[in-house]
């Protein structure tokens, strides 16, 4: 009885660990995708060129289609359909088994394929660290520089309105 409780708890503990690990990896993959989706295909390809790519195959050939973009009533209410956007997607499997998915706005199938490849590499024990350091991190830094510049230009147009008070208090 006692033993079985310990075993049950042990199982529960290790499955919680697995869930946490899964969530961590998913968060990491999403963070990488968020950077890659903002980069140009050529920039990703250039970063991957210094990389000895493991064997991989296409699970889904790059294809383009539409995604209906949704907003919310009042910004925070019920969803409504705003209009569509072109989206490209692809899927890649490494010889070691990791499956990567690539999705991006636009009609650049090659970019979707490169994102899928990076997503597979991010999950790989052998390549995850390298792709983060050599591909994702520099592209993230570049994106941040661009965003900081845009934010600084926007900030210069901030107004301090004041109302004039006439006469004595």
């Amino acid at each position: 009885m006692k033993l079985s409780i310990i075993i049950d708890n042990f199982d529960a503990a290790s499955s919680v660990d697995q869930v946490t690990q899964h969530n961590n990896q998913q968060a990491q993959r999403k963070a990488a995708m968020a950077v890659l989706a903002h980069a140009e295909a050529g920039e990703i390809a250039a970063r991957l060129r210094n990389f000895s790519l493991p064997a991989h195959q296409h699970l889904r050939m790059p294809e383009s289609g539409l995604v209906m973009l949704r907003g919310r009533v009042g910004g925070d209410g019920a969803p409504f359909n705003l209009g569509e956007a072109t989206v490209s997607r692809a899927a890649v499997r490494l010889a070691s088994g990791e499956v990567g998915f690539g999705y991006t706005l636009g009609r650049d199938g090659e970019k979707a394929r490169l994102i899928a490849l990076c997503d597979a590499l991010v999950q790989s024990r052998d390549h995850g660290g390298l792709v983060e350091r050599n591909v994702i991190a520099p592209l993230r830094e570049q994106l941040m520089v661009e965003r900081r510049q845009a934010a600084a230009e926007t900030a210069a147009t901030k107004v301090d309105f004041y109302t004039m008070v006439r006469g004595e208090g």
């Binding site: 009533v73 209009g83 991006t104």
Partner: protein, 367 residues
């Protein structure tokens, strides 16, 4: 009866060749590139994306070039193109509260958290033609200032905290989102369908409708609670990946109109709202949309609905410029058979009229 008109193939082919030459214009003048259209005629691209209901700058620029700058024709081309692609699904609803704001103004509160940010605007320009833009103009680099790290909450969220403004209607879990590109329009239409219709509606039509409410045809006392423009991130739940994947970001303009009160015996009075959202930097469009959205809520809010802008069937059936131009412009296509039958009828009526006149004259003569 429908009778096909044949012939004229040669003339049509030659007309299209002539059009291609007219589109190109004087060939000693350099050809305009899609990048040039996208970068330098950005607001035209925004409008074509919004009313074409397809976010893709490059395609919108191509459509503008092909349509010789006729934006409604360009919108038509974009709509036709979108019908050729499969749909992967719908995005997660975008969060405009998390927008990387490039412009954000409120005409109701001067001290909003995050501040009033003018951004790239025509406001406060003198509207004088600038000859220096004619050629070789190089603008000064933009000024910069230290960017605030404070968030820029929606003004309506701030008012909402004190209960001074109605909250946004929420959807039931699992409720489907109406899509007028998939199901035919029925009336009365819910707010999700109305907003979809307005979002792709003609800017000029919505402007006139919104203006009519200000002039008294369905008055609703609006204030521009907030207008914001900037980038929002888009996520799409990918079945294969098993989670919501980032797709990149799009530019949106959002307008929150704050309008006069509603209240009942059991509910304290509060401000009501109208909402506008559109692709790109489309301020006039989203302001007009918000005015019309609010006007179309007349029935829901127990207001008298007598003005055109409050009539959802009238507004929603006439807002689409592709439908409208299709029906108006089809009048120029051959109607020879229709017209022949009308002509036949008219001749008969005239004959009857002449006979009756002759009959009267005979009678008078006989008397």
């Amino acid at each position: 009866m429908y009778v096909a008109v044949k012939g004229g193939e040669r003339a049509i082919e030659n007309a299209h060749r002539l059009l291609a030459n007219a589109r190109r214009g004087d060939q000693s003048v350099p050809e305009v590139t899609l990048d040039q259209i996208s970068e330098q005629l950005g607001l035209a691209v925004d409008r074509v994306m919004g009313e074409g209901s397809l976010y893709d700058r490059e395609l919108a620029a191509l459509a503008i070039k092909q349509a010789r700058g006729d934006l409604i024709e360009a919108i038509f081309l974009v709509r036709a193109f979108r019908a050729t692609l499969p749909r992967f699904g719908a995005s997660e609803p975008v969060d405009t509260g998390a927008m990387r704001v490039q412009r954000r103004v409120s005409s109701t509160f001067k001290d909003i958290p995050g501040g009033q940010i003018l951004g790239p605007t025509f406001d406060y320009t003198h509207r004088l033609l600038d000859p220096s833009l004619a050629e070789g103009f190089v603008p000064d680099a933009p000024a910069t200032a230290e960017a605030a790290t404070a968030p820029t909450p929606r003004v309506t969220d701030i008012l909402g905290r004190d209960g001074l403004i109605e909250s946004s209607p929420q959807a039931d879990d699992g409720a489907s989102v109406g899509d007028l590109t998939r199901e035919p329009l029925n009336f009365p239409a819910d707010r999700d369908l109305r907003l979809q219709n307005l979002a792709r509606g003609d800017e000029g039509f919505l402007l006139a409708m919104g203006y009519s409410t200000q002039r008294g045809y369905g008055r609703n006392h609006p204030f521009a609670g907030e207008i914001r423009f900037g980038e929002v991130e888009v996520e799409f739940f990918a079945e294969d990946a098993g989670f919501a994947v980032p797709l990149g970001s799009i530019e949106l303009t959002e307008c929150q109109m704050v309008n006069q009160f509603k209240g009942t015996a059991t509910e304290a009075p509060c401000f009501t709202r109208g909402y506008g959202l559109a692709f790109g930097q489309s301020e006039r469009k989203t302001m007009s949309m918000a005015l019309v959205d609010r006007a179309l809520r007349a029935r829901e809010l127990g207001e008298e609905a007598l003005a055109p802008a409050q009539d959802e069937e009238f507004v929603m059936s006439h807002s689409d410029n592709v439908q409208a131009t299709g029906f108006v412009e089809h009048l120029k296509l051959p109607h020879y058979v229709d017209f022949q039958s009308e002509l036949g009828l008219l001749r008969k009526l005239r004959q009857e009229f002449a006979d009756a006149q002759a009959g009267d004259a005979m009678k008078e003569a006989a008397e």
